[in-house]
Symmetry: C2
Subunit: 401 residues, 2 copies
């Protein structure tokens, strides 16, 4: 069996989790690990050795990793700031690349990411795991069958109380703290935007044309610090955070659809991505489903689960344990299979650029009091002819209301 | 007992409902009714006579109503377009006025409404019944006790599938159809905005400073017409509707709070106002409540119902029947009591102007691709000193998580 030899850069919590997920696959070998912090790289190498009986190369310098002949694919699971530079460095060495999610810091970085991928033709995938989640794929399957009629509006959120992760970020060497201290933007748009963009055919017959963003005041983190003075890093006491607690963004698409995004991470709440798709024939919000044909009442989307793709109907209990209820496993399986079969990646560099640029564009819009910002076309007009393509295949079963 | 003698202008479904609600109160007499359509005025007069044994004056000309000596208060329940002109005409005759909800068609109309009220000093109330609803008042009560900490973001919606009401509007002589054909805006903001504005102290130590709006394409009504060709007015077949199906608006307040509004009335869905208040110590969405002190899980707001105002803790089954589950009865009781006791109205002309202007400002923002619009201060700077005032009093009970 052909093995994909992977090098991981960035071995914090998420990086190590992904590394172990991949290491457990029969056709993957972890040949190199890299982190700015030596202890993280060492821990990762040690864990691979203990669990799988071989020891990957380890380094604190990514340049040593991306040049290695025993690395086929570089997985970038570093800080948000480094996703694009590391992807570019790896592609320039002819490596396949997959990068974890996060937003971009400048439009130019997005253009450069696209340029280098086009120049090198390196296989590139953006690791938006929520594109592979169960509800998102079930809705997509039903949209493709016409169940929603014409989709006119979608919304989603990253509703996740991250106060402790941010505030105690320094001791975890986490990148979120510095972002929340200095930036004010939709800093994490893709968990909700990714699946919506796929549904709306963004970069494939449709595109995002413009956006506006507004941010609320920043009060959640300051209040948290003030209420936990005895526990938090004393340097944080009295500090102002630039990041507004709730950032609301509205995106307009070429075909007139609107997308509403909410970043909501620094106030008390329960986790919710609030995945909402609204068409002329149906509406759903998470698993609540209103089907026009059945009148004005709510049913469960789960009643239609036979329209799920195989990766979910065949999901095992073991598979569900492999990171975020199963979606991470599906995602990496798709990446690896595309790589081995030399097929186009289902979330490509154009998707990455279009989705990531929302962060820096929202930053400008907020700073300008909500002024509309142009969202660039990264495809050079190819969105007009690129065919609709989903991240997985859906079963060919007729829909019955 | 002193009786308030009311004249009603506009006797469609809502007008007649309100008229009967008021006519049933022991201290109200309906002395005059007016509608552009004679049959509606006649039906209303006949019903009053049958149910209460007296016959009000009836006319199709509002000018005949507003000059009558036997009318103390004019209740405007007409088409949206006429709320402000009729209120102005009545105030100029020295009448107390209450107007039903709806949005404004121009900023100048809002300024003129304020000017005439200031000039005449006529008692004026904006009939936003949702300001008196149970969940809205329970949340407001808890906000006033500090339970939410600092409120930083609120959102709400008018999520109401009105397709049949709009499409068959011509035969019902309803005003919505012409609005949906010609305008594209947040045409009905106040059911959600009213309670939020009260919570945030708008016009009382806070104000709304600017907004942005974007509208989705318009597909819901056209699809509905196309699917019901045999039933609908043939003139509607093939017609374009200007109104986008979903309008998203973001408002920024002087103290940095954001308000997110969604108009969502022409696609399949169940009714939802999606009343959401997000503070540094608590979060609620309708009756789901997350209290920081109790950790990251959802409880029911109903568990805290002892903090409801008396009008709700004392609510009878009969009261709940009096229009929209009870809130309409509370609203008119407050209006009549303020009138009799010569007290300031709890939703005054400054609230009306600030809330209604969202419609015409959103229209401009949408037409300009989401450009931010200034929301005027209608109080001439008095918002800096006007004290916080709620629409009802809340019980002085200590909060226990």
């Amino acid at each position: 069996m052909e093995k994909i030899r992977m090098g991981f850069i960035g071995l914090g919590g998420r990086g190590r989790g992904n590394m172990h997920l991949c290491a457990g696959m029969p056709d993957v070998e972890i040949t190199a690990v890299c982190d700015l912090y030596l202890d993280r790289a060492e821990l990762s190498a040690k864990e691979i050795e203990e669990r799988h009986g071989y020891r990957p190369f380890l380094t604190t310098d990514y340049r040593e990793l991306v040049v290695r002949d025993d690395v086929d694919a570089v997985i970038v699971t570093s800080s948000w700031e480094d996703h694009i530079p590391l992807a570019i460095a790896a592609m320039k060495q002819g490596k396949a690349v997959a990068i974890e999610v996060g937003g971009a810091y400048s439009l130019n970085d997005c253009f450069e990411l696209v340029r280098v991928q086009e120049e090198t033709q390196a296989p590139f995938m953006f690791l938006e795991n929520c594109c592979f989640d169960e509800t998102e794929l079930l809705v997509t399957s039903l949209v493709r069958k016409g169940v929603y009629g014409e989709v006119v509006h979608c919304s989603g959120a990253y509703g996740h109380d991250l106060r402790t992760e941010i505030i105690y970020g320094k001791e975890n060497r986490h990148y979120r703290l510095r972002n929340y201290m200095h930036r004010n933007c939709e800093n994490y748009p893709t968990h909700e935007l990714g699946p919506i963009a796929k549904i709306l055919g963004i970069n494939r017959g449709n595109r995002m044309v413009s956006l506006v963003s507004m941010a609320s005041k920043s009060a959640g983190l300051k209040t948290y610090v003030n209420d936990h003075k005895d526990k938090v890093d004393p340097e944080l006491i009295g500090k102002e955070f630039a990041q507004g607690d709730v950032v609301t963004t509205i995106i307009k698409c070429a075909h007139g659809e609107t997308i509403h995004l909410r970043l909501d991470t620094t106030l008390p709440r329960t986790y919710d991505r609030d995945f909402t798709v609204h068409g002329t024939k149906a509406y759903s919000k998470n698993n609540s489903f209103v089907l026009d044909a059945k009148g004005e009442h709510t049913v469960s989307l789960r009643d239609y689960k036979k329209h799920l793709p195989l990766c979910w109907t065949d999901m095992t209990e073991e598979g569900r344990q492999l990171g975020h209820g199963g979606m991470d496993g599906i995602e990496f399986r798709v990446f690896i299979d595309c790589l081995k079969e030399n097929k186009p990646m289902p979330i490509d560099v154009y998707d990455a650029a279009a989705w990531m640029c929302i962060s820096c564009l929202s930053e400008t819009s907020i700073a300008q009091g909500g002024m509309p910002q142009e969202i660039p076309d990264f495809t050079h007009g190819q969105w007009l002819i690129r065919p609709l393509e989903d991240v997985v295949e859906f079963p060919d079963i007729e829909f019955e209301a």
